[in-house]
C-alpha cells in the first residue's frame, strides 16, 4: 500500500512538473522574442509572438493528428479569395520576374518595396532557369500536363493564395492570405504556370 502511494505521488509529481516546465518555456520564448529582437517597418515583433492557429499548430515538434491537419485545411480553404473579375491569367513575362524576386518582408528590405514570390528558390519552373531549389516539386510543364480547365485554375489559385488549404503545415508561404503578393501578381504567376505560351509549358 505504501509502495502504491509512493508510486501515485511520483506519477503525480512527474505529471505536474513536466506540464509546468513546458508552460514556462513557452513564456520564456515570448519574453525573449520581445526583449531580443527589434521591430522595423513591416517586420514587427508582435507578428512573431502572436502566431495564428496554423503557425501555432505547425510549430510543434512531432506529427499532428489527421483531424488537426484536416481542420487546418478546412479553415484555410475558407480564406481563399478568387479573382473578382474571373480572369485567372495575367502576364507570364511579369510572372518570371516575380518568381525571381526574393525580396520583401526581410528586416533588410526597404519598407514599401515590392515583394516577390521567390518561386525559383524552391521550384523548378522553366528549362531556362537552372538555379532552382528543390524544397518544392518541379513545376516544369505544369500547365501542359494539367490542361486549362476552370477546375485547374481554381486549384492552382488556391495553392498560391493559401498553400495550407491543400497541405496542412506546408513549407510554402500563404502568398495571398498573408498579403505578400497582390491579386495582379498572383495572376502573373498563374500565367507563368498555365499560359500555353509560357516557357514553363514549352
Amino acid at each position: 500500500m505504501k509502495k502504491l502511494m509512493v508510486l501515485i505521488a511520483t506519477i503525480a509529481a512527474a505529471g505536474c512538473s513536466s506540464s509546468t516546465v513546458e508552460k514556462d518555456y513557452d513564456a520564456e520564448v515570448v519574453r525573449l522574442i520581445n526583449s531580443d529582437f527589434k521591430s522595423k517597418g513591416s517586420v514587427q515583433i508582435e507578428k512573431f509572438v502572436q502566431q495564428d492557429e496554423v503557425q501555432k499548430l505547425c510549430s510543434q515538434d512531432g506529427e499532428l493528428s489527421q483531424d488537426a491537419l484536416a481542420s487546418i485545411r478546412d479553415s484555410q480553404m475558407k480564406t481563399v479569395k478568387y479573382p473578382a473579375d474571373d480572369q485567372y491569367l495575367g502576364d507570364w513575362e511579369k510572372g518570371i520576374k516575380i518568381a525571381n524576386n526574393g525580396k520583401g518582408g526581410q528586416f533588410s528590405d526597404k519598407p514599401g518595396s515590392v515583394s516577390g514570390g521567390n518561386c525559383f528558390g524552391c521550384h523548378q519552373i522553366t528549362k531556362e532557369e537552372v538555379a532552382f531549389g528543390t524544397m518544392g516539386p518541379s513545376l516544369y510543364q505544369y500547365g501542359k500536363l494539367r490542361g486549362n480547365s476552370k477546375e485547374i485554375y481554381q486549384y492552382t489559385w488556391a495553392k498560391i493564395y493559401n498553400a495550407q488549404a491543400s497541405i496542412a503545415c506546408s513549407n510554402m508561404p500563404r502568398f495571398g492570405h498573408a498579403g505578400i503578393l497582390t491579386e495582379e501578381q498572383i495572376k502573373d504567376l498563374m500565367a507563368l504556370l498555365l499560359d500555353p505560351e509560357s516557357p514553363t509549358n514549352k
Binding site: V29, F37, V49, Q106, A131, R174, A178, G179
Partner: protein, 266 residues
C-alpha cells in the same frame, strides 16, 4: 585578402554550377580541396591572437585573463564547451557574449565599445571576428561537448529548441522550414537537415568560416542573423540571450562532432 577570396570564388563558381546539380554534392568537400593551399581564416586567427594579447581599453590590460569557462586565460578547448553557464554572471553565455563580458570587466570598455562593429564591413574592420577566429581555432580537433548540467543550460537548450520550431511572421517560416529534411536546396545552396545528427555535426563543427563571398571570417552570430533575416523574423540584437539559446540547441545537436573551424565556405 578580399581579392584572394574573390579570385577563389570565381574559380569555384564554375565548379559549383556543375556539381550543385547533384543533390549529395557538399559545398565543404569542394572547398576542402582549396584548403591545401591554406585557408585565409588563418590570417584572421593570427590577428585575433594579437588582439587577445595586446593591452587595450581604459584599464590597459589584455584579454589573457579572460575566463571562457575553463579558467582564466584558458583558450584551448573552450569553444567546444560553449555556450555554458557562468556563475560570476549567473547566466548562460555563448562565446561572443563572454567576449563582450571580458572586454567590459577586464579592459573597462563600455557595452557600446565592446559590441562595436561585431561584423566587419568594407573599410570597417571588426575586432570581434578575428578574436572569434583565434578562440575557435584553439578547439580544432576536439569533440563538441556542451554540458547541459546546470538548470539554466537545460533551459537555454529547451528555449532554443522551441525557437528552432517556431513558425511565424508574414511567410510562416521558422528554422525548421528549411532545415528538417534531407537533400533539399534553396536555389543552388544545399540545406543541411539539422534534425539529423550527422548533418548537424558537420555544419556546426565548420562554423565560424571564412566566407569567400564576403572575404571575411563570419561568426555563428552572423550566420544565424542571416538565416533569421531570410526567415522574415525581426532583426535579432547582437549577442542576445535568444541567439545564445538557439546556439545552445544547435551546439548540443552537434555533440561529439570533431571541431574543424574556422572553415572555408561560399
Amino acid at each position: 585578402m578580399r581579392l584572394i577570396g574573390q579570385a577563389i570564388l570565381l574559380a569555384l563558381t564554375m565548379q559549383l554550377t556543375v556539381s550543385a546539380f547533384a543533390d549529395d554534392a557538399e559545398d565543404n568537400d569542394i572547398y576542402a580541396e582549396f584548403l591545401e593551399d591554406g585557408n585565409p581564416a588563418e590570417f584572421s586567427e593570427i590577428n585575433g591572437e594579437e588582439l587577445w594579447k595586446t593591452k587595450a581599453g581604459p584599464n590597459n590590460v589584455s584579454l589573457e585573463q579572460c575566463d571562457l569557462g575553463k579558467g582564466p586565460g584558458v583558450v584551448e578547448g573552450a569553444y567546444v564547451e560553449l555556450p555554458r553557464y557562468f556563475s560570476d554572471v549567473n547566466k548562460v553565455m555563448d562565446l561572443e557574449q563572454r567576449l563582450i563580458h571580458c572586454r567590459m570587466t577586464l579592459q573597462g570598455l563600455t557595452q557600446e565599445e565592446a559590441t562595436k562593429q561585431p561584423f566587419s564591413k568594407p573599410g570597417k574592420a571588426s575586432d570581434i571576428e578575428p578574436l572569434v577566429a583565434y578562440i575557435t581555432a584553439a578547439s580544432k580537433g576536439m569533440k563538441m561537448a556542451v554540458k547541459l548540467e546546470h538548470p539554466m543550460e537545460k533551459e537555454a537548450y529547451e528555449i532554443g529548441k522551441k525557437l528552432f520550431f517556431h513558425r511565424a511572421g508574414s511567410h510562416d517560416f521558422g528554422c525548421v522550414t528549411c532545415h528538417s529534411a534531407d537533400n533539399k536546396r534553396i536555389r543552388l545552396q544545399n540545406l543541411p537537415n539539422l534534425l539529423d545528427k550527422k548533418q548537424a555535426q558537420k555544419v556546426y563543427a565548420t562554423w565560424p568560416a571564412y566566407r569567400l563571398s564576403q572575404g571575411e571570417v563570419r561568426s555563428m552570430q552572423h550566420r544565424l542573423r542571416s538565416c533569421i533575416r531570410q526567415q522574415r523574423f525581426p532583426n535579432p540584437k547582437y549577442a542576445s540571450d535568444a541567439i545564445t539559446a538557439l546556439t545552445m540547441y544547435l551546439a548540443k545537436s552537434a555533440d561529439g562532432a570533431v571541431y574543424a573551424a574556422p572553415a572555408i565556405k561560399r
